[in-house]
C-alpha cells in the first residue's frame, strides 16, 4: 500500500515530520517497508536564461548566461533546441547528481567554452521520457527556488507492507485514522455529502447471485467530457505507481486508494439494456481491461448486460464497456463482493488488481453509497455532466458486530495495566463504540473493521495504540529446579547418530525431501500418494523413500567439481506413506572414491583403497551402536534391497523380523540410472526401528567380575565350502563353550589350489578366559575338540592340515 505524504495530510492534520510518521506507522502495525523522500531532486533549482548566443565552435550548441537566483549569473553550454533567452527551467549546479544520465556534474569545457552546470530535460530528471528540449516553465516560476517543490515532485512516497487483516488501511483515510488514534495528529472530517441527482438511473440492476453480491449501487452521469485528469491528480497516481488513463478512470483509482473503495465506470453507450449480477456460465469468456481474454467458471461472479459479460465482479472490468475520451454518459458502480469468492476468482484467473486486493480483505459496506457520491462529485468537478439518482440494490444495511469486552483482558493477555478510560478512549478514536460502565463493556465494531471478532482483537487494538514498547519484559516464572532431560529417545538417538558419523570423518548434508520421480522409483518409492501436485521443479516431485539417492547425487555434484573422495551422511526423514507414522527417521551415509575412515587419496605411508562394502558396514554398525542398538545381538545376512550390489551388500536384523538397516556397494544399474559413477558404497540405518530401552530402576552398572586366571588364545584354520559365511563359522566356534570362550575373531582368509576347488580357508583366533581354575593341557584339548566338532556340524568345515 503506497501513499504520499501530502495525500496523507489531506486527511491528517499534523505537524509530525516524515520520520516521526514513518516510525509511528511501523510501531502501530503498519510496517513501513520503504520511504522515498525524493531528496534526489533537491539539487535542481528554477533558473532563468538571461542570454543565449551561438557557441563559437559548434553549430548545435549555445552558450547561455543563467540566473540561478543568487544574483551571480553563470555560464552554461547547452545543446537543447529550445534553449533561448527568457526561458525558465530547471538548473543543476556542479556537484549535483543527474539521475537520467547517471552523472555527477563538474565544471567542464565543452568545445573550448567553460560550462558551470546544466539546464535539464525531464528525462534527465527521470520525470518522463521527454527529451526534445529542456524543461520550459511558465515565466512566473520563482527563480532560485526548488524545482521539485514548485512542480510538486518532492512529495515523499511511503510504502506500507500491509498485513492481510487490515482492509481499513488499504485507504489513505484509514491510515490517517490510525495515526490520529495514536496521537500523531487530528483526523479531518471525511464525511461525503450526497450529490443530488435528477430522475432514476435508467439502467436497472438485478442481483441473481446475492450470496456473492450483498449490495450494488449504480448511477448514471450524462454529458460528461472525459479527457486528461488534472495534473495534481495525475501526479498523485504516478507517485504511487499508477498510470493516468483518463479523468473518469483516474477518479476510480483515486478513490480506491483514498478511501479503500474500488469503483467501476461503464461507458453507458456501450451497455446493452440492464445489468445483471450473476455467476458466469462455465466456459463463458470476457476480454478484460488488461487486453486478455479470460475463460470463466460458475464460481466466478460477473456483471453482464445484453451483450454478455461486461465485468469480472470485484476483480477487473471488461474492455468492451470501458470509458475512453469519447465517453459522454458514464455509469458509476460501487458494489460489495463476497471476499473469499473474490480471492478465489483472482487466484484462479491469476489477476492481481487494486480492486481484488481490497475486496478480498473486505471493504467497508457503509461506504458503498458514499463511494458513488464521492465519485459523482469528482466526475462533476472534473468532467461536468448531470447525474441521475443513485440506485441501490440488494443492500440491507450494516449491523455492527458487538463484542463483550472485559477490560481486564488487556492486563491478562499483555501483562500491562492500561487504565480503563485510556483503553476505551483508544477504541473510540479507532471508531469503536463502547456501551456500559461495568466490568464487561459492549463494544460495537466499526463497519470498516471486519477483522475484529473477539476480545483478543480488542486487546490488540489497545496494545498497539498504547504502545508495545510500553510493555516491560517479565521473567517467565515456573520451574525452580534443575531441569530433567528434555529430549525424547528418538531425538537423543538422532543427535548421537549425527555426531557418531561425523566423528568417522563424514560430513553432514541436508538434502531435499523431494527428489526426481525416477530416483524415488529406483529406491522403492514413487507411489501416487507421495507425489506433489505442484512441485517447484520437475525434478523435485516425489517425497523421498530413501536418503541415498539425494546423497549419491550430492557426491556426484562434488565429483563433478573435482572432489571425488567424499563421505556424506544425513539423519533425517524418509516417507513410506502420507500418514504421520509413515515418516521414518533414518541415518544414511555414502562414501565415494577413496574416502575411507582413515583418510582418502594417496599418502606416503600407503594410499587409501577404494571404498567398499565393509566401509559401509562399519559405518552402519557405528551408527547403530551410537543409537543404542544391541550390537552383539545383530544378525547380518545377505538380501539387501535391489538397489544394492547383490553380492556385496547385507541386511542388518535384530531377530528374524526387525530390519535395522542395509549396507553395501550399489548395483551397477542403479548407478547407471542415477547417471553417477563410483566407487560408491553406502548404508541406511532405521533409527526409529531400534527398540527403546526399558526404563531402569537404577543407574548402577552390573557388577564386574574379573577373572584372576590368565587369558589365552588358540588359533584354528578351517577349510570350508566357498559359500560358507564367516559369521556362521565364528558363531559355531563361539557356541562351543559359552563360559570359557570370550571372543572369536577372523584373522585370515585364503583361497587357492592348495585348498581345493570351491573351498576356502578361514583362520580364527579364539580367546579363552578361564574362570574357575587354570586350564590343563587336557582341558584345552577337550575345548579344541568341541570347537572343531561344532564348526564341522554347523559348516561342514574341517581343520586345515
Amino acid at each position: 500500500m503506497k501513499l504520499t505524504l501530502s495525500w496523507l495530510k489531506e486527511h491528517l492534520e499534523t505537524d509530525a515530520s516524515l520520520a516521526e510518521i514513518v516510525e509511528r506507522l511501523t510501531s502501530i502495525g503498519l510496517e513501513v517497508e520503504y520511504v522515498d523522500d525524493k531528496s534526489g531532486l533537491k539539487p535542481f533549482v528554477i533558473a532563468k536564461v538571461l542570454t543565449a548566443v551561438q557557441h563559437p565552435d559548434a553549430d548545435r550548441l549555445r552558450v547561455l548566461t543563467v540566473d540561478t537566483g543568487d544574483g551571480k549569473p553563470v555560464q552554461v553550454v547547452c545543446g537543447a533546441p529550445n534553449a533561448r533567452a527568457g526561458l525558465v527551467g530547471a538548473f543543476a549546479a556542479p556537484g549535483a547528481y543527474v539521475p537520467g544520465i547517471d552523472v555527477t556534474l563538474s565544471v567542464g569545457k565543452i568545445r573550448g567554452v567553460e560550462s558551470f552546470g546544466m539546464m535539464c530535460s525531464e528525462r534527465e530528471l527521470e520525470l518522463s521520457d521527454e527529451h526534445d528540449g529542456i524543461i520550459d516553465l511558465p515565466a512566473d516560476a520563482p527563480v532560485g527556488t526548488s524545482y521539485a517543490s514548485y512542480a510538486k515532485l518532492d512529495d515523499p512516497v511511503i510504502d506500507i507492507n500491509l498485513t492481510p487483516n487490515r482492509p481499513d488501511a488499504t485507504s489513505i483515510f484509514g491510515i490517517a485514522r490510525d495515526l490520529a488514534a495514536s496521537g500523531l495528529g487530528r483526523l479531518k472530517d471525511g464525511t461525503v455529502a450526497p450529490v443530488p441527482g435528477k430522475g432514476a438511473c435508467p439502467v436497472k440492476v438485478t442481483i441473481d447471485a446475492p450470496e456473492l453480491c450483498p449490495g450494488f449501487a449504480l448511477r448514471l452521469v450524462r454529458g460528461v467530457k472525459n479527457g486528461h485528469s488534472p495534473k495534481w491528480l495525475q501526479q498523485r497516481l504516478i507517485a504511487i505507481g499508477l498510470r493516468p488513463i483518463n479523468a473518469l478512470v483516474d477518479i476510480t483509482n483515486y478513490i480506491t486508494f483514498d478511501r479503500g473503495r474500488p469503483l467501476h465506470v461503464f461507458d453507458a453507450s456501450k451497455v446493452a439494456g440492464n445489468l445483471v449480477v450473476r455467476r458466469a456460465t462455465a466456459g463463458e469468456k470476457v476480454l478484460a481491461l488488461d487486453g486478455r481474454e479470460y475463460e470463466l467458471s460458475q464460481e466466478i461472479c460477473v456483471i453482464a448486460d445484453g451483450n454478455g459479460v461486461e465485468s469480472i465482479a470485484g476483480v477487473m472490468g471488461g474492455e468492451h464497456s470501458g470509458c475512453d475520451e469519447n465517453t459522454t454518459d458514464v455509469l458509476i458502480e460501487s458494489a460489495l463482493w463476497e471476499p473469499l469468492n473474490i480471492a478465489r476468482t483472482g487466484r484462479e484467473l491469476g489477476i492481481i488488481t487494486d480492486a481484488r486486493y481490497r475486496f478480498e480483505r473486505g471493504v467497508d459496506p457503509e461506504f458503498m453509497v458514499p463511494g458513488v457520491e464521492l465519485a459523482t462529485k469528482m466526475a462533476l468537478d472534473l468532467c461536468g455532466g448531470e447525474p441521475t439518482e443513485t440506485a441501490v440494490v440488494g443492500y440491507g444495511g450494516h449491523t455492527p458486530k458487538v463484542v463483550a469486552f472485559p477490560l481486564s483482558e488487556v492486563k491478562r493477555l499483555t501483562g500491562i495495566e492500561v487504565p480503563r478510560a485510556e483503553s476505551l478512549d483508544i477504541l473510540k478514536r479507532l471508531g469503536f463504540e463502547a456501551k456500559g460502565s461495568g466490568d464487561v463493556t459492549d463494544v460495537a465494531v466499526p463497519s470498516w473493521r471486519p477483522d475484529i471478532d473477539g476480545k483478543a482483537d480488542l486487546v490488540e487494538e489497545v496494545m498497539r495504540i498504547h504502545g508495545v514498547d510500553n510493555i516491560a519484559p517479565q521473567p517467565l516464572g515456573g520451574h525452580h529446579a534443575v531441569n530433567a532431560k528434555i529430549l525424547t529417545v528418538l531425538q537423543v538417538r538422532t543427535r548421537a547418530a549425527k555426531r557418531a558419523l561425523a566423528v568417522r570423518g563424514m560430513m553432514e548434508a541436508v538434502t531435499w525431501s523431494f527428489i526426481p520421480a525416477k530416483h524415488a522409483e529406483l529406491f522403492g518409492g514413487g507411489q501416487a500418494a507421495l507425489k506433489l501436485a505442484n512441485p517447484i521443479a520437475a525434478d523435485m516431485s516425489d517425497m523421498r523413500p530413501s536418503l541415498l539417492p539425494g546423497l549419491i547425487a550430492a557426491a556426484q555434484r562434488n565429483a563433478d567439481k573435482g572432489i571425488g573422495d567424499v563421505a556424506l551422511f544425513e539423519v533425517s526423514g524418509t516417507y513410506e506413506g502420507d500418514a504421520p507414522d509413515k515418516q521414518r527417521r533414518v541415518a544414511a551415509g555414502i562414501r565415494r572414491g577413496t574416502a575411507r575412515l582413515e583418510g582418502s587419496g594417496r599418502h606416503w605411508a600407503g594410499n587409501a583403497q577404494n571404498v567398499g562394502v565393509f566401509d559401509a558396514k562399519a559405518d552402519a554398525i557405528a551408527a547403530l551402536e551410537a543409537v543404542g542398538a544391541p550390537v552383539d545381538r545383530l544378525q547380518v545376512e545377505a538380501g539387501a534391497p535391489g538397489w544394492y550390489h547383490p553380492g556385496r551388500s547385507g541386511v542388518i536384523k535384530l531377530g528374524p523380523k526387525t530390519v535395522l538397516g542395509h549396507f553395501g556397494e550399489f548395483h551397477p544399474r542403479t548407478l547407471e540410472s542415477l547417471d553417477v559413477s563410483g566407487p560408491l558404497s553406502g548404508f541406511e540405518v532405521f533409527v526409529d526401528a531400534v527398540p527403546e530401552p526399558k526404563a531402569k530402576p537404577t543407574r548402577t552398572k552390573p557388577k564386574l567380575d574379573l577373572s584372576a586366571f590368565q587369558r589365552v588364545t588358540r588359533d584354528f584354520a578351517f577349510v570350508v565350502d566357498r559359500s560358507v559365511e564367516a559369521g556362521t563359522l565364528t558363531k559355531a566356534a563361539l557356541s562351543a563353550d559359552k563360559k570359557l570362550i570370550s571372543g572369536v575373531s577372523v584373522f585370515d582368509l585364503f583361497e587357492g589350489p592348495s585348498i581345493g576347488e570351491g573351498k576356502k580357508s578361514i583362520a580364527i583366533e579364539v580367546s579363552i578366559q578361564p574362570v574357575e581354575r587354570t586350564l590343563t593341557d587336557e582341558d584345552f584339548e577337550a575345548l579344541a575338540g568341541r570347537i572343531v566338532d561344532n564348526v564341522k556340524k554347523q559348516t561342514g568345515g574341517v581343520l586345515r592340515g
Binding site: 487483516n165 517467565l476 555426531r499 560430513m507 553432514e508 506433489l532 517425497m543 572432489i563 502420507d578
Partner: protein, 358 residues
C-alpha cells in the same frame, strides 16, 4: 706380568664387538686363561712370595675384569647409538588427520542443538511432528479460514487428493505441532519445535524447503510481557551478546492475537558480517503472539481458562545471521567445501556451561 697386563689391555681395547670381548674374557679369565693360569701358580708359592704375588695377581684380575666390563658397556652404547642413527626418520612427514577433525556437523543441526540448550535451560521440551500434514492441522485448526488470503501467503505444496477427496500437504510452518501437542498434553505446556517446513519459493533467502523453530507456552498466566522476556533472553543467549535491542511491532498471523513481529537491532556496516547489540539497522527475525482463542479451542482448551504465547522463526535464517552464510540455497547443496567451512567439528557440542559456540 706387566707385559701380560699390557697385552691383555690392548686386546680388550681392540675388541670390536661382544664376541671379541668374550674371547678376551676367556683368554684372560677363562679356566685356561692367562690370568687364571697365574692365579693357579699361587698354590705352589711360598707364604712370603704369596703375600706379595697374591695381591698383584688378584689386582691384575680385578683390573682386567673392570676393563672387560667397561669395554662391554662402551660397545653397547655404541651399538645403541648406531641403531638410533639408523632408525632416524623424517618427522616432518605429514600424518593423516583424525577423522573426528575431518567430519562436519551441518549448521542446521548445530543451531538446533544450540536452541535446545537454551530452551532446555528455560524448562522447555522439544516436540516434533510430521512433514506431511492435513489441511486441518496446517490451516483450519490454526484459524486460517477456508479460502482466506492468508492461506495464499503460504505458497503451499499439495499432494493429489486421495479417494476421499482429502488433499494432504507439506506443512508450511511448524505450527501444526502446536495443535498436536495440545491434543496430547495438558497445560502447562512449554515446548519448542524445530523442523523442516516447505513453501513454493526460491531465491537467495527463500528455499522450497527450510527449517523453522516454533515455541509454545500455555498455562494460566503467560502473557506478552513474558513473551518479550523469553524472546529477548533467547536472542541474547543465541547470539552470545550481553544485550540486544529488539523491536516488537504489531502484525498479523491468523493463529495469534495479538500478533507481533520482532526486529533485532544490528550493525551491518561491515561487509559480510552482522554484529548484534550495536548499530542502527533493524532485521526481522521472528513472528510471535498470544495464541488465538480459536486455536486454543481447536486444541481442546478453554481460552478463558488457559492462555499462552507462541513464536516461530527460521532456523536457517538465524544461522545465516549468526554465522554469516550469504545464500540459503547453499545449505542444501552438500558442497563439501561449504560444509568444511561453515560446518561444525563433530565434538563441538553446544552447551550453556561451555558456551554455545567455540
Amino acid at each position: 706380568m706387566e707385559t701380560l697386563e699390557n697385552s691383555l689391555m690392548a686386546g680388550i681395547a681392540a675388541a670390536a664387538d661382544e664376541q671379541a670381548i668374550e674371547a678376551m674374557r676367556v683368554a684372560a679369565l677363562g679356566k685356561k686363561g692367562s690370568v687364571s693360569e697365574l692365579l693357579k701358580t699361587l698354590g705352589s708359592m711360598s707364604q712370603e712370595e704369596r703375600q706379595t704375588r697374591g695381591p698383584a695377581i688378584n689386582g691384575l684380575k680385578v683390573r682386567i675384569t673392570e676393563a672387560l666390563a667397561a669395554r662391554k658397556a662402551e660397545l653397547k652404547d655404541g651399538a645403541i647409538a648406531a641403531r638410533l642413527a639408523a632408525e632416524t626418520l623424517d618427522v616432518t612427514l605429514p600424518v593423516r588427520q583424525s577423522p573426528a577433525e575431518r567430519g562436519r556437523i551441518h549448521p542446521i543441526s548445530q543451531v538446533i542443538d544450540e536452541i535446545a540448550a537454551i530452551f532446555g535451560d528455560l524448562g522447555f521440551a522439544i516436540a516434533k511432528g510430521p512433514d506431511i500434514e492435513t489441511d486441518h492441522y496446517n490451516f483450519t485448526a490454526l484459524n486460517f479460514p477456508e479460502g482466506h488470503p492468508a492461506r495464499e501467503m503460504h505458497d503451499t505444496f499439495f499432494f493429489q487428493p486421495d479417494d476421499n477427496g482429502e488433499r494432504k500437504l507439506l506443512r508450511t510452518h511448524t505450527s501444526p505441532v502446536q495443535i498436536r501437542t495440545m491434543e496430547t498434553q495438558k497445560p502447562p505446556i512449554r515446548i519448542v519445535i524445530p523442523g523442516k517446513t516447505y513453501r513454493q519459493d526460491s531465491d537467495a533467502t527463500h528455499s522450497p524447503m527450510f527449517h523453522q523453530v516454533e515455541g509454545l507456552v500455555i498455562d494460566k498466566t503467560a502473557n506478552v510481557a513474558n513473551m518479550k522476556w523469553v524472546l529477548s533472553e533467547f536472542c541474547k543467549a543465541f547470539f552470545e551478546v550481553p544485550s540486544v535491542n529488539m523491536r516488537f511491532r504489531p502484525s498479523f498471523f491468523p493463529f495469534t492475537e495479538p500478533s507481533l513481529e520482532v526486529d533485532i537491532q544490528c550493525d551491518r556496516s561491515r561487509p559480510g558480517e552482522v554484529r548484534f547489540g550495536e548499530g542502527s539497522d533493524w532485521m526481522e527475525i521472528l513472528g510471535c503472539g498470544m495464541v488465538h482463542p480459536n486455536v486454543l479451542r481447536h486444541g481442546g482448551l478453554d481460552p478463558d481458562e488457559y492462555q499462552g504465547f507462541a513464536w516461530g522463526m527460521g532456523i536457517d535464517r538465524i544461522a545465516m545471521l549468526k554465522y554469516g552464510m550469504p545464500d540459503l540455497r547453499a545449505f542444501f547443496d552438500a558442497d563439501v567445501r561449504w560444509l568444511q567451512h561453515y560446518g561444525f567439528r563433530p565434538l563441538d557440542m553446544p552447551t550453556l556451561f561451555g558456551g554455545l559456540s567455540a
